[in-house]
């Protein structure tokens, strides 16, 4: 490092006394008109010009060029990276930077806490809304199931159709009730008779030659639409001494047909009980 520069320094100091005296008169002509350099051999300037103008490819030039390339590259990179970055922090002192960093840390902590709180709240809300949604779904499902039983919604499914032809007018309410009981015992889930839905509170009365179901007078032929397992329902009606035989004894004709799709679409308004209240709540 110092080796190289000390020598020229010493040399210069040695040379300066020699060079300066002729330099004193020289600046006036040389400074005014820069041209006459060939006339008076200025050692330094001459060497500079000689090194600059006829471009010689020597080992020294190449090596120096390589090093200067590195210098220029580093210089440009440093300048570029210096001007690229945010200038606000670059000029700040160390304690300022530490303070800013602390503030940022505090802020990050606060925001993190807030985020956690909000996430917890969100989870709770999601859970509760999930639960409410689930409860609502179950309620709807239950309402549908109960609606089938209570006769407030239409139902469809496999089942049978039973038609009772009563030309003589001998069929009475208790025979139909027997039929309904038999169907229920065989697992019927929804029953309608001539457009009247049969539910738990259904009652049948005789009214003259015909029958009333829940106060609605129906006439023969009595057409039962029953949803349930056809393989259970049909045998239940046909057992010896059962519904079909009893009715046929009364001169009525009974036809039972299985079907894979029975639609029970007679509806009944939901009736609010006057006295009974649910005790499950």
């Amino acid at each position: 490092m110092s080796d190289h520069d000390d020598r020229p320094g010493n040399r210069l100091r040695a040379e300066l006394p020699e060079e300066v005296p002729p330099a004193a008169p020289a600046p006036v002509p040389a400074g005014r008109a820069e041209a006459p350099e060939g006339k008076r051999a200025l050692t330094g300037r001459e060497r500079l010009v000689k090194g600059l103008w006829p471009p010689r490819v020597t080992r020294a030039q190449l090596i120096v060029a390589l090093l200067l390339f590195g210098l220029g590259f580093g210089l440009a990179v440093q300048v570029a990276s210096n001007s690229d970055n945010d200038s606000a922090l670059r000029g700040a002192r160390q304690e300022d930077l530490v303070r800013i960093l602390d503030e940022l840390d505090d802020r990050t902590q606060r925001l993190e806490d807030e985020k956690q709180g909000l996430e917890k709240q969100r989870d709770e809300l999601e859970n509760s809304s999930d639960q409410a949604e689930e409860a609502r779904k179950q309620t709807v499902e239950k309402e549908r199931q109960l609606g089938v039983l209570a006769g407030t919604v239409a139902a469809q499914g496999p089942g049978i159709t039973m038609t009772i032809e009563d030309t003589k007018g001998t069929v009475e309410a208790d025979m139909l009730l027997d039929a309904i009981q038999e169907l229920r015992a065989a697992g019927a889930e929804a029953i309608q008779v001539n457009g009247v839905r049969v539910v738990a509170g259904t009652y049948l009365t005789d009214s003259g030659k015909s029958v009333s179901v829940d106060g609605n007078k129906i006439n023969a032929p009595y057409r039962f639409k029953v949803i349930g397992k056809p393989q259970d329902l049909e045998p239940a009606l046909n057992i010896p001494g059962g519904v079909v035989q009893t009715l046929e004894k009364e001169q009525a004709t009974v036809t039972v047909e299985r079907s894979s799709k029975i639609v029970v679409d007679a509806l009944r308004a939901a009736k609010r009980p006057d006295y009974a209240r649910s005790s499950s709540q």
Binding site: D5, R11, E15, G44, G72, L75, V77
Partner: protein, 110 residues
């Protein structure tokens, strides 16, 4: 001439490529650049004096850079990196000024 071209090409390449300075080198690059500048001024002065030697120039250039980086590294390890790099810059600046003065005397005879 070739040397000046090398400098110009280096600057242009640095501006065009814009490489990301590695974090390990980042503190040493400015000091290294200043040290290299010092070596270049010293070399220019030596050339004007007529005693330029490429071997000496190469050695002084490289050793300047390495020693400057070493000083900063040592300063960082000792916890006085900022002060030490300031000191290095001051010393190198003084040397650059004195070399520039010698060059000026040669070129302008004043």
């Amino acid at each position: 001439m070739i040397a000046v071209l090398g400098l110009v090409v280096g600057v242009v390449a640095g501006l065009l490529v814009r490489p990301e300075v590695p974090a390990a080198v980042e503190p040493y690059l400015p000091i290294a650049v200043v040290a290299a500048l010092d070596a270049v001024f010293g070399g220019l002065r030596a050339m004007l004096d007529g005693i330029f030697d490429d071997k000496v120039f190469v050695v002084s250039f490289l050793s300047n850079v390495v020693v400057a980086a070493l000083i900063v590294f040592l300063g960082d390890k000792l916890g006085v990196g900022a002060q030490l790099s300031t000191g290095v810059v001051v010393v190198l600046g003084i040397r650059i000024f004195s070399n520039a003065a010698a060059i000026r005397r040669h070129v302008f005879r004043a």
